[in-house]
């Protein structure tokens, strides 16, 4: 059974045991516009909670994708690096960014659930 949570920086995390899949939310893609470049982390790279782990660029600008949890990268999504528009078309499934082996499950508990996130983006539309 997997569970999905959201960060204030508009990343989503889906937790399966000790493996977390991380991506950016549909709301994030709508704010970014057309995504034209993605850089995902290499396997084995260690990422810190709320620190930069990947890069996403739209026609307008480059942005950091932070990891909402600490851990070691087990896989980066090569298919979005090849075709960045996949992040726009399916941000919360095929458009995932990277997977990490997590270190501290309590970091997951501190993230927002879906309804809290929806309220958050309503209150903070930009």
């Amino acid at each position: 059974m997997s569970e999905k949570k959201y960060s204030k920086k508009h990343e989503w995390v889906e937790l399966n045991g000790d493996i977390a899949v991380v991506g950016i939310t549909k709301h994030a893609t709508e704010m970014l516009g057309d995504i034209v470049f993605v850089e995902v982390p290499e396997n084995g790279k260690s990422v810190e909670k709320d620190a930069q782990a990947a890069i996403v660029e739209s026609t307008k600008a480059a942005s950091d994708v932070n990891s909402p949890m600490s851990g070691d990268v087990t896989e980066g999504n090569k298919s979005i690096a090849e075709d960045p528009s996949r992040v726009n078309s399916d941000p919360e499934k095929e458009g995932w960014f990277f997977k990490i082996k997590i270190k501290d499950k309590s970091e997951f508990d501190s993230l927002m659930n879906k309804s809290d996130y929806e309220k958050f983006i309503k209150d903070n539309p930009n």
Binding site: G33, V36, E57, K60, A62, P84
Partner: protein, 362 residues
Amino acid sequence: MEKTALYNFHKNLGAKFVPFAGYEMPIQYSDGIVKEHISTRTYAGFFDVSHMGQFYIEGGSSLDESLEKIIPADLKNLKINQSKYSFLLNSEGGIIDDLIITRRNNGFYIVLNAACKNNDIKHISKNLRENHKFYLCSTNSLIAVQGPKSSEILDQKIKGVSKLKFMYGNFFEFEGEKLYVTRSGYTGEDGFEISVPNNKVENFIKYLIENKVKPVGLGARDTLRLEAGLCLYGHDLSEQINPIEANLKWAIAKTRRETGGFNGWKKIKANLEKGTSRIRVGILPEGKIIAREGTKIYSINDEEIGTITSGTFGPSVNAPVAMGYIKPKFSEIGANIKLEVRGKKHNAQISKLPFYKKNYVK
């Protein structure tokens, strides 16, 4: 923050606004930058460029002489209704603004960049005589309609515009109102720029939308002009850059290059004879890496040789594109260079400009 006459209309079309040169301008609409860009290249798009200055100067033949001191175009030989791309130059030959100047019956019509227009007017008025009258038009919007279908669509409603030649203008009629239309633009496509009275601009836009012409924001305006190899003032051009460095020698009339008599001519003449210390080039990064403005350029031997001034993803080229200034000895087309993006050096090549072939109607 100022708004154009079409602000509410843009809002209803799903525009996202950004502050630009003191105006709230649409950066994109609901289609997004890539679709807006492609619509312009394959069909037609319209752009509200009413933030730009529509500046009129009236006066006798002494006007040519006064303006030729600050604008290096051959104004004496500019025909009525003919337009030229040119510059306002400072005493060092640096570019105060780039502009389009058109001769009209009783003077000139000059379209100026929004961010520069107030400063430009100060600069121009200092060089005018007492009998020269000038004003910035506030009663008209300026709409660019660009793309391969623009001529056919406009001609149905504004009879005769399809007969205009590239870089020429004239008066036409739309719903009983007089419009001034030039065949020009900044996208690398065939197109028109139309000065429409504010009370008619919504009707004009409605006509375009009925004919499936898409609204295009500043985002796609930037990707379109960059693919077309055109400079954006404040990025690729500035007061510290002269037209020879900008590789825009062609925009200084040949006779004026030789005989001078304009601000900065000494510096420009020296640059023409001895070369410059930097030159604007097109750059194609390898792979998908986007080199934005400010990216440092290195030689293959890791010598720092220049800086990127504009860089984005080109939707029609389907690859990243950039322009920048480098030392001339590295500027040969096809030469290998490196671009430092986020601390890593990436391979790139010097490219000819434009990146995307133009479709102007001559």
